[in-house]
Each structure stands twice: as C-alpha cells, then as structure tokens.
C-alpha cells in the first residue's frame, strides 16, 4: 500500500476494500473476506515490537532523510519496500553490509550504526514489509474514524429516511433505532444500514399432509429446504413435496441497494449518527 501513502494511509485503504465487500453484498461475508485475507498476506517473520520501535527511531535518524519516513522512497534514496536486498535479507546478512559500507557507486554513504542497531533497523524494515504487503480485504476496526465517513448532510438523510428511502415504514428513531449510533461505530453502522446481515430468512411450509411449519431457514437449495421451527426443532423437505412461503426481512434492503446513490448512503449515515 506504500504507493498510496500520502494520499491515504494504510488503514484507510483497507477500509475502502471493506466497503466493496459489504456492498457486493452479497458476494462475501466479512468473515469469509477475513479468512481469505489470512491465506494471502505476506509471510514476513516479525521481530519483537520493541526492536521494531528502536529500529524505527534509528531509521528516522539515519535513513529517512533519503529513503523516506516509512522506507518507501524519499528525496534521494529508493523505495526500500522494492529492494531485493531488503526482501531477501535474513537477520541482517544482506542489509548489514550495505549500511556499514554504504554504496559509493550509487551515492549512499556508509552509516555509523552498531550491530545491534542494524538488527533493529532490520526489524523495522521487516515490519514495514509486512505492513506494505498486506492488501487483501480486511474489516476496518471500530476505530476507523467516523469523521471520514460523515461527509453527508443530516437534513438530507432525514428527508430520505422519511421520504424516498421508505425507512420509516419499518424503523423509527424513537424505538428500534433509538441510540443506534451509540450501539455501533460509524463504520459498522454504515454496513448495517446497507445490509444488516443478522436478519434471517423465514419460511412457512405446508407439507403433503396439510401440516404447517414455520421457522428460520437453515438452508435452501435448488432442491431442498430445512428450517429450525420456533420450538428449535430441525425439519427438512424436498422442495417438490411441499408448498413454501418465504419471508425475507431484508427484502426492502435488497431492493434499496441498487437504488442508493452515494449521496443517499452518506446522508442517511449522517442522519443515523445523530441518534445517540
């Protein structure tokens, strides 16, 4: 993610991806996205945090002037995240001599650092590699700044809530949404308002003997349905042997998703954020 630093920091970049996850809707649950991220992140073995911090401090003093504060390139020195020496280094075996001897042919002077200090710089660079290589979808934590999300207009959001959005047909700021902004950080509230994933599809089933069942759907395939009835018992049927009625509590949200403009989304979030 180093290329976008200066425009966006790393966490913001991750959050951008999250938005696409929750809106694709549909494509992948956040949990799956996180699992996918685990299989794809870099495998940079990390040094202890105190070594990383000592290394960062040394780097800022002795290296950042040329290589940039985050080691991703500066006024005179190359981006070290793209350095084969840095990426192939094992415990300073490659970086060490470059620091000690410099690279006179490329204009890099020898840097006065002790062996321990060099190891700390190596720890910092490892840390930066892991950070810059991590670029798969990742849920932004609740700490993601709400201020960045709140670019909408409260009044327009309220108008949408009671008007075009039709939200007030099911929701009320004085009952179910009372204090909603306290219950969720802004970034989660944004995900919830678009697609509240904790709502379950319900079914009513009329079997061949005329008996009726109702409950939450366990699975619904092209051929079979299974529910947990309201007493908690599991039932399943082939679809061709029953009459089925589905009740989708998210139907309105689904219908709304393709109709939302970006402004609608930002405005409604701004309005909901006032419901503290």
């Amino acid at each position: 993610m180093y290329l976008i630093e200066g425009i966006l920091n790393h966490k913001q970049a991750c959050a951008l991806l999250f938005v696409s996850v929750c809106l694709w809707g549909s494509v992948m649950s956040a949990r799956q996205a996180t699992a996918a991220a685990k299989t794809r992140h870099g495998s940079w073995q990390q040094h202890p945090a105190d070594a990383v911090e000592r290394g960062r401090s040394q780097f800022l003093k002795k290296c950042a002037f040329c290589h940039g504060r985050e080691a991703n390139g500066g006024s005179a020195g190359p981006n070290l995240m793209r350095s084969a020496v840095v990426r192939h280094d094992e415990n300073g075996n490659l970086i060490g001599s470059v620091i000690r001897d410099g690279r006179p042919d490329k204009g890099m002077p020898a840097i006065q650092l002790t062996s321990d200090q060099i190891m700390d710089v190596v720890a910092f660079l490892r840390y930066r590699l892991a950070e810059s290589d991590l670029r798969s979808p990742k849920e932004p934590g609740p700490e993601y700044s709400g201020a960045k999300l709140l670019i909408g207009k409260v009044e327009d959001g309220k108008a949408f809530f009671y008007g075009a959005g039709g939200c007030s047909a099911c929701h009320s700021p004085t009952s179910d949404l009372k204090g909603i902004a306290r219950r969720y950080p802004a970034v989660e509230l944004q995900a919830h308002l678009l697609y509240p994933q904790d709502q379950h599809l319900r079914a009513t089933v009329l079997d061949s003997s005329g008996k009726q069942y109702a409950g939450v759907i366990r699975f619904l395939t092209n051929y079979d349905i299974a529910i947990d009835d309201d007493a908690g018992w599991y039932h399943s049927w082939p679809l061709d042997a029953i009459k089925l009625e589905l009740k989708d509590p998210l139907a309105v949200h689904r219908q709304l998703l393709p109709k939302f403009t970006d402004s609608d989304m930002h405005n409604i979030l701004a309005y909901l954020e006032t419901l503290k």
């Binding site: 425009i7 970049a13 951008l16 960045k148 759907i217 619904l220 393709p258």
Partner: protein, 527 residues
Amino acid sequence: MKSIVLFLCAAPIYAQGLDPGALLKPPTDTWPSYNGDYSGRRYSTLSRINEDNVRSLTLAWAFQAHQQELKSTPLEVNGILYFTVPNHVWAVDARTGRQIWHFQRQSEGDDIGQRGVAMYGDRLFFGTPDAHLICLDARSGKKIWEVEVADVKFGYYISMAPLVVKDRLIVGISGDQTDIAGFLDARSPRDGGLLWRWDSLPKPGQFGSETWPNRDAMAHGGGTTWMTGTYDPELNLLYWGTGNPHPVLAGRVRPGANLYTCSIVAINADTGKLIWYFQPSPHDTQDRDATETPILFDADFQGRPRKLLAQASRNGYFFLLDRATGENLLSTRFGPENWSAGLNKRGEPIPKPEKEPQPAGVLFEGTGTNWWAPSFDPDTGLFYVNAYHHFAVTYLTRNGEDEAIRWRRDSPVGPGEAFVSVGAGILTTAGHLLFTGDNAGDLVALDPATGGSLWHVFAGGRLTGCPMTYELNGQQYLLTAVDSVLYAWVLPREAPFAAVPPSSHVSDLETPEFSEFFQLRRPQKRR
C-alpha cells in the same frame, strides 16, 4: 548438450506419454491440457452419458487428497490422471482412483490455488507457491529439473497450469501482494530455459506507455497472467487475459488506462510479440482481472464467417472479438453494475471516476465471475458462465442476434450469507448436458438449452474445481472435485459385475488360498 542427449534418449518412451497430436484434437479418451483443448471451450464430444441416462449416474470411485481444496483440472493421458493442489502433484489410476505416485515439495509463498499440470511427452510441468517451475517424470513423479520463474520475495507465485504449444511451455505468474510487473514466458520443456518473455507493462516510449503517469507507476503496474490462456494453431496466436493493475484500488496514483492490465492480448506463439489487445477494464480500481478464459470458436457474425473470441469478464461484461484482428464485435453486460458510463469507441467500458474507492465509501454494484471455467457448447451455440451477485448461469448467442440472457438459474439465498460467490466451473457435452455446481453445494447436470435440472447430488461440499470428462475402456467418466475429494461418476455397467467369490471380501483373510476355509468359518467368528 547433456540435456539434449537425455532428451533424445528419452524420445522413444514418449510413445507411452502424451502424443502431441492429442493437443490438436477434441478431448475424448485423452484430456491433455487444462482446458481439454486449445479452444478453451470445455465441450466434450462424448455422449455416452446423456440427457436420457444422466439420472442413473453412479459413483465409480472417490480419491481423498487430504489436502486443501482441489482447484485443478486433472489431465487424463493413457488411463492416468494428473492433478495438483499447491505444493502437491498426484498421478492416479483413472479407472480405479488408486494413487500411482504423489509428489510433494513444501515452499513459501502464496498457496491460494493450483490449477494443474501441463504434459509434454513423458514430462509434467507445474508451478509452485514460490514461483518455481518444476518438471517431473510422469512415470515416477521424480523431479527432472526446477527453475525460478520469478522472485517469491516480491509476492510472485504460480497458480496457473502451463500450456504446451509446439515445443514450448507457456507459463504465467500471479501476485497481488506488492506492486509488481506481470509477464508471460515461453520456456523449454527440456530444461525450463527462457525462450521469450512478453511483459504486461510497456517500457518508456513504447505504445501504451502514454496510459501511465510515469515510469515508476508503469514499471510496477501489475497485469499478472494467472490463468491458462487459449491458442489458435492456424493463426499461431496465443490469447491471454491479464490481471488488475497495481496498486489494486488506489487509481489516483496511476491515472490512465494502464495498459496492458485487465486486458485480453493476442501474442505470436513463436516470438512473444503482441499482435493486438483489447482492454475489458481500462483503469480498473475494483480488482477486476480480465484473466477469464478467452474461448475460441468460429461462427457467422452478422452474416459473415468469423474467427471469434469470447470472454465473460470479471467486470460483468461479455465481449465478442474477431480473434484475427482484435476487432470488438459485441460488448454487453451480463448483470447489473453501476460503475461504467457506457463504452468507448473500441467497445471497452468507461469507468466512472466517482466510483473509484473513496475514504467515505462508494456504493459499488457489480456482476462478476472469476477463474472458474466457462464453456461454449457448439450444439446450442451458447456461452455459459457462473457469475455472482446472483448465482447465474448466463449465455450469449454466438451470432449476436440475441444479446439478452436466455436463462438464468438463480441460487436461493441462504440465511446470513446472502449470495456467496460460486467457484464452480462448467463442462458441456455432446450428451446435451451441462455439468456444474450450484451455490448450495449440489453437483448438477442441466439441460444446456433450458437450464432445467436433470441430475443433482450433494457430495459433502461445493464443487471447487472445473468438471472434466474422458472415455476409458468403453466407459465415460465425469470427474468433479469437491473440496479435497475427487469423485468419478459413471453410468452403471450394462452387464452386472462378474460374480466375485465372497471370500475375497473377507477382510481378515491372511492368505487367499484358505479362502474357502475361512468362508466356512466366518459365521462362527461373527457370533
């Protein structure tokens, strides 16, 4: 010189390996390459299993790999199957499912998937998570050579199945972890030596460099080549899809169309030179690789016979091109999206700048597909693809008369997970059948004309690979990979199995000679 001598010495044994001519024929008793043939259509002329008898499909065998999910399409050559997961290759008896050998080599690097091997004579080739290319002896699974294709420390890895074209291995690479440059290699089956390399990104001053803001962004701009492409032997052109630009989402640091990322390219198979390109996603900021199989077929388009190339791209567009010239004949969406503002004069979607990722979030709607194989059925003239947003099997006609979706099979919504993206490939056959897997985990055979369901079975998980089929000893086998299990399906034999003496099933027999004796005593033992 030594390797050449070895090569020549080994030549007579190739008679037992893959006949190079098989690569130019429709796959019947042999499935010699990732897609079965160069066209990428994944259509089999076999029809023993057909719409009338598919309901009686029965299990021939199952192979449990005890590894991560199988995404590879097995090759089948002379009664032996060859398939992979990252770091592993198996040779398995195509009739019985019994393992012949298993090659394993652990490595660092991304192990998200492995699509399979390529075969040349009696040699197999596969790529590794640390971006090495390995050659194995197909008889024994013993390693013959290994070369590094790219540097794993920069996040390169190989997941694609190489493609054999004449006496070359065409090898692509993967990687999204850092900002890297994509390329496509032709390498020697003899020793893995580089014969040519096509770079996905132009050099300063070359055509396409004007689609990048500066030298640095262009040198690290992505465009990996992580899926097996197709090949037209008459035109001697390779057709390859390229992946997303780097950095993946942050488009503001790379203004421009970013050639040749998210592109379909035609490359001379002998020289590695670019002949034409078409870019499904200019300036992509949503990770919409255009690596999906570019399927080749010939048909009339608007009354004129054409050599065609069709791709259902990850960005939700279906493209039809003239594969000799790259001329765009048709670009049409196969599902809803909100990120494009129409098409440019080349028939490429124009991305809306306001739909690039923003800190406050941008509402993005799309339809997409991914690496799982599409299929073109010459009998129906339809192109099939599994897509998400909705699980949809869609088609577009080969002659462009009807640009609409004729049928779509929506997968029901499961609780809490909405529409989970599918990963199932498609196979069509002359038996008037389409095999795939649905979102709910059922393996299905559908009527390719209507989408109606003809057969289904839940085999314990989702179809993770692409179905394939072959004929062996008068039986047609259908293979489906479900998680780490490979299932082989056949029709029941017309004659019942020859009666086998029950004694041979007694598991506690020590020596077969005493079978009758033990048989007599067996009831007593069970008491």
